[in-house]
């Protein structure tokens, strides 16, 4: 079988195909050094949790250990391919520094303890606070990497049992805008499109979506189309010269913070040239007139001026999008984590609505997720929504949920939308949240303005519980640390960005006393003695499959209907897309075919919000706007970004990802191949900007904003001028500082610099627009920066040795197994 260094060649070998053809299979595999296939004792079914693509894979087990992975050839998502993070990342589970025992704080230090002591501390403090202040004292901040069963159980415990409104996930940082944009346009969260739209599209527009590095297998699919007959044309919107930009027919690199202006300019051209589908608009859409008026003020020249892009490029992009026959659009952090996030993402939906491009092969919108199980937090109500896409402002929905849970509707907080993460931290700062339970995430690195976040997490009056698999920066600040099991060590299901549900089976035992998150939640419910209104235990299941059955009942009849699925159905086969019910026993590939939406006032998940103020619409207003359950076009005015470069801080700071790491690097930083590929943070400037500042490749620079400073070595790349980029994965757990920078030193986490500000609609923090300056600390000695040469950080000038993984990174590429 051919062997490929998948660090050097992250997307592997091309398997070209033409429009409408099936994507050829290519099975990627990587086993521990020295092992061959015949040495594997068992293969256990799973899928990726190191990104949101949902690539299906099998886990190789030998002597009770995970020893490798192999892509699942039959799966609809990846046809056997794996992302480099998946090929190598499983090794982190075997790392020597896994948490294996609970820790409790004694005399200011975390010391080893036992489960009973640790759980009694947690529930003891929680009970005290509930008695003293009530549920408003407790907050739960979870992740995008648990399983559906765990989120649902947590949502039941927190919303239905404890009765707190403060439940959110770090999916707030990542996919909150995807959810918000879908709700605004279609009345419900749920991806309209399918990854197979790549197979059919003639134009693919990627908005702030560096898919080559965020969902690398989806990018392989695009690359294979590009290498085949009749390839699609790509339109790329990104201030950096990403792999996507390099492959694009048109690359627009707008000034940060101007996405709404750009979208208004594109929509202006589409409307002015009559590239709209009048019949579709008449039959299936409300709100077009307002859009027509709004974009009338945005001629291409004006948009190009505000965004600082060539007007001819903007026109050409609009022409491609406006005349496509099968248009696929994807959106990610370049829009979601930027100024006016929801307003901009909604305009992408608007493009599809005015062009009538939904519900047919090749005509999809993918409002992407960053995290693997983000979709599940949204469905299950663990992230600022109610379970089953129920509308907190619709009393009938709350009553229905109370029926499912057998509790009083008044016990489910619904006086306002569930508290979002940034607000939870604000409440903790003010001292009204006094118990914070953090699960599988690392706010001490991932939230904006880290100095503030650390001061909140360290607060005297805050009881901090952290449940994780490593002693993260956040766990180091906790009062109690609970060791969790991870992927491969527990069973559950999860759903990717295109609604594909996969089963992940337990392959090995967790290390030491670590326990599956679900077991910990069940223990919590038992110790709190949570009951339903008949006095029976509130949580009625004891294992993952029981939780899944419970969830099926909760989702029945809702848009995200899982009632047609079972573990048996998922085991052995491939992923299935929800809704899957009696009517759609094989799942549903594309939502909204024939212009049918879930936006009826009685059904919709949300009544929508004002795109500038974020104020929610009332049920009455929504009914007046959309009595017949059509899709909703919402126009948006452009508002300039809140922090802008000036004399002291002349550059835009923008942050983002690298292909080789995930989130705060807790796993990928413990994976030798991935760690070597991107060992430390770097800063990027364009050649022009570097020259203007007298800086060169490899120089040690300091990047500063009003909030702090970070040091990194410079990589000169094909970025737009006036922007400095930093990857955000790096923190302090593998540095002397531990949970933050060493006293008085500059940091290395990009979020030392980012500002506390969020989109008023989706409440997603803004990581992409801050004002910064870059100064020289020490000139380089000819050594280039350690940034990878494979993705957007590819050097602008030759002379930097290419990123390679060598022998340790050789992976297999096989045919269908």
């Amino acid at each position: 079988m051919p062997q490929v260094d998948r660090i050097a060649e992250p997307w592997g070998t091309r398997t070209p195909y033409g429009p409408g053809d099936p994507w050829p299979v290519r099975v990627d595999a990587f086993l521990e050094a020295g092992l061959r296939e015949q040495d594997v004792e068992r293969w256990v079914q799973s899928a990726s949790i190191l990104h949101s693509n949902g690539d299906a894979m099998d886990i190789a087990v030998r002597a009770g250990r995970v020893v490798g992975v192999r892509g699942r050839a039959a799966d609809r998502v990846n046809h056997g391919r794996l992302d480099p993070k998946d090929l190598y990342g499983w090794q982190a589970g075997n790392a020597a520094d896994r948490l294996t025992r609970p820790l409790v704080r004694e005399g200011g230090r975390l010391v080893e303890s036992d489960w009973d002591t640790a759980m009694e501390r947690v529930t003891g403090r929680l009970k005290e606070l509930l008695a003293e202040q009530g549920p408003s004292a407790a907050g739960f901040y979870t992740t995008g990497q648990l399983f559906l069963e765990e989120y649902y159980t947590l949502a039941l415990i927190a919303h239905g049992g404890i009765g707190t409104n403060h439940v959110d996930g770090n999916t707030r940082l990542c996919t909150a805008t995807a959810a918000a944009a879908l709700k605004e346009s279609f009345g419900c969260d749920g991806q309209p499109g399918s990854y197979t739209d790549v197979d059919h599209a003639d134009v693919i527009a990627l908005y702030g979506h560096n898919v080559a590095e965020t969902q690398s297998v989806l990018w392989s699919r695009v690359l294979d189309r590009l290498a085949g007959p009749n390839p699609p044309a790509l339109v790329c919107v990104d201030p950096r010269e990403t792999e996507v930009a390099r492959a694009a027919a048109v690359h627009l690199a707008p000034r940060p913070g101007t996405n709404v202006a750009l979208m208004n300019g594109l929509l202006h051209e589409i409307v002015a040239n009559g590239w709209t589908d009048e019949a579709y608009l008449r039959d299936h859409v409300v709100g077009f007139e307002e859009l027509r008026e709004r974009v009338a003020n945005w001629p291409a020249e004006e948009a190009a001026r505000v965004c600082d892009v060539p007007v001819a490029d903007l026109r050409e992009a609009a022409r491609l999008i406006g005349t496509a026959e099968r248009l696929l659009s994807t959106v990610l952090q370049g829009f979601y984590q930027s100024h006016q996030a929801t307003a901009a993402a909604v305009q992408v939906n608007n493009v599809h609505l005015v062009r009538g491009m939904l519900g047919r092969p090749g005509c999809g919108v993918l409002q992407m997720n960053g995290q693997p199980t983000a979709q599940n937090t949204r469905e299950c109500g663990a992230d600022g929504d109610l379970p089953g896409f129920r509308n907190w402002a619709n009393d009938a929905h709350v009553q229905d949920l109370a029926r499912v849970w057998n509790i009083d509707p008044l016990d489910i907080p619904h006086y306002s939308p569930p508290t979002h993460a940034m607000q939870m931290f604000r409440y903790a700062e003010e001292g009204s949240i006094r118990f914070l339970y953090v699960i599988g995430t690392n706010p001490a690195v991932s939230l904006p303005e880290l100095r503030r976040v650390r001061s909140i997490l360290r607060r005297e009056g805050l009881f901090l519980v952290v449940q994780d698999i490593f002693l993260s920066e956040t766990a180091q600040l906790a009062d109690v640390v609970l060791p969790a099991a991870t992927w491969g060590e527990k069973t559950g299901t999860f759903t990717n960005a295109d609604r594909t549900v996969h089963l992940s089976d337990k392959a090995v035992e967790p290390p030491g006393e670590a326990r599956p998150d679900l077991d910990i939640f069940l223990d919590l419910a038992r110790r709190l003695d949570l009951r339903d209104k008949d006095g029976a235990p509130l949580v009625k299941w004891h294992d993952a499959e029981g939780a899944f059955e419970g969830w099926k009942e909760c989702s029945r009849g809702r848009p995200c209907d899982y009632s047609g699925l079972t573990y048996d159905r998922l085991r052995g086969g491939s992923g299935v897309q929800w809704p899957c019910d009696d009517e759609h026993p094989d799942g549903t590939e594309r939502l909204y075919a024939g212009g049918r939406f879930f936006s009826d006032p009685a059904c919709c998940e949300d009544y929508g919000r004002d795109l500038v103020t974020g104020a929610p619409l009332s049920g009455t207003e929504y009914r007046a706007l959309n009595p017949d359950g059509k899709a909703i076009i919402k126009a948006a005015e452009y508002v300039p970004p809140h922090e802008q470069p000036g004399e002291e801080f002349p550059l835009w700071l923008t942050t983002g990802r690298t292909l080789y790491h995930f989130h705060t690097r807790t796993k990928t930083g413990r994976t030798p191949q991935l760690r070597r590929a991107a060992p430390e943070p770097w800063a990027e400037l364009s050649p022009g900007e570097a020259a203007r500042n007298g800086l060169a490749e490899g120089d040690l620079v300091e990047i500063a904003t009003p909030r702090g400073s970070v040091r990194a070595r410079l990589r000169v790349t094909g970025m737009r001028d006036g922007v400095v980029f930093l990857p955000f994965h790096y923190g302090y757990w593998d540095e002397p500082g531990g949970s933050g920078p060493e006293d008085g030193e500059s940091g290395r986490a990009a979020n030392e610099l980012t500002l506390t500000d969020w989109d008023p609609v989706s409440k997603q923090p803004i990581f992409k627009t801050a004002a910064a300056r870059v100064t020289l600390v020490k000139a380089g000695d000819g050594e280039p920066s350690p940034a990878p040469t494979t993705g957007a950080s590819r050097p602008a000038a030759p002379g930097v040795p290419p990123t390679e993984g060598g022998r340790a990174a050789l992976a297999e590429e096989g045919d269908a197994a």
């Binding site: 202040q133 009530g134 408003s136 004292a137 409104n165 006086y415 306002s416 939308p417 508290t419 940034m422 607000q423 604000r426 409440y427 700062e429 003010e430 001292g431 009204s432 004002d610 500038v612 103020t613 974020g614 104020a615 929610p616 508002v639 809140h642 506390t756 500000d757 969020w758 008023p760 409440k763």
Partner: protein
């Protein structure tokens, strides 16, 4: 005809509302959403003030087109203090009080736009009618924002 009276009052009231928004933002700097959105919304008032001054010319009014501005240096010092204060528990109640005041002021401005539109109808002044049609919806959005922020913030402040 008393159109000039209405214009004058609106001009004053929009100035007041804009200033109130800026003050709200400065007093609640540590409440980040309030801080940023209030500033964005103050820009609408500033637009309205300018447009009203233009419209006033035809009625012999010489209204100041430049809106009551950014907080001065003294107020900025207060802004710093608010940021520090904002990290302690008490400001919750202050926020509710400020939002309540904002809501009532914005309601007054909204009614005045209503009055202007009625008068413009009666007097068949197309320009003024268009002006009200352009500005009044933004006032309503400011109003709804104040109400929504109030509702979102009230529970936590009042039950904890």
């Amino acid at each position: 005809m008393k159109l000039d009276l209405v214009l004058k009052e609106l001009h004053r009231a929009e100035n007041e509302l804009g200033h109130l928004l800026l003050r709200l933002s400065e007093r609640h700097k540590a409440d980040h959403e309030t801080y940023h959105v209030a500033r964005d919304l103050a820009v609408w008032c500033q637009d309205h003030v300018r447009l009203l001054a233009e419209a006033g010319d035809a009625y012999g009014l010489s209204l100041d087109p430049s809106p009551a501005g950014e907080p001065g240096p003294v107020e900025r010092v207060r802004e710093k203090a608010a940021e520090w204060l904002g990290r302690r528990p008490e400001p919750g109640l202050l926020l509710l009080a400020d939002l309540r005041h904002l809501y009532r002021t914005a309601s007054g401005v909204s009614l005045d736009w209503e009055l202007l539109a009625q008068a413009a109808q009666g007097a068949r002044r197309r320009g003024l009618l268009e002006l009200a049609g352009r500005c009044h919806p933004q006032t309503l959005r400011q109003l709804r924002w104040a109400e929504a922020r109030l509702k979102e913030s009230a529970t936590q402040v009042l039950v904890s």
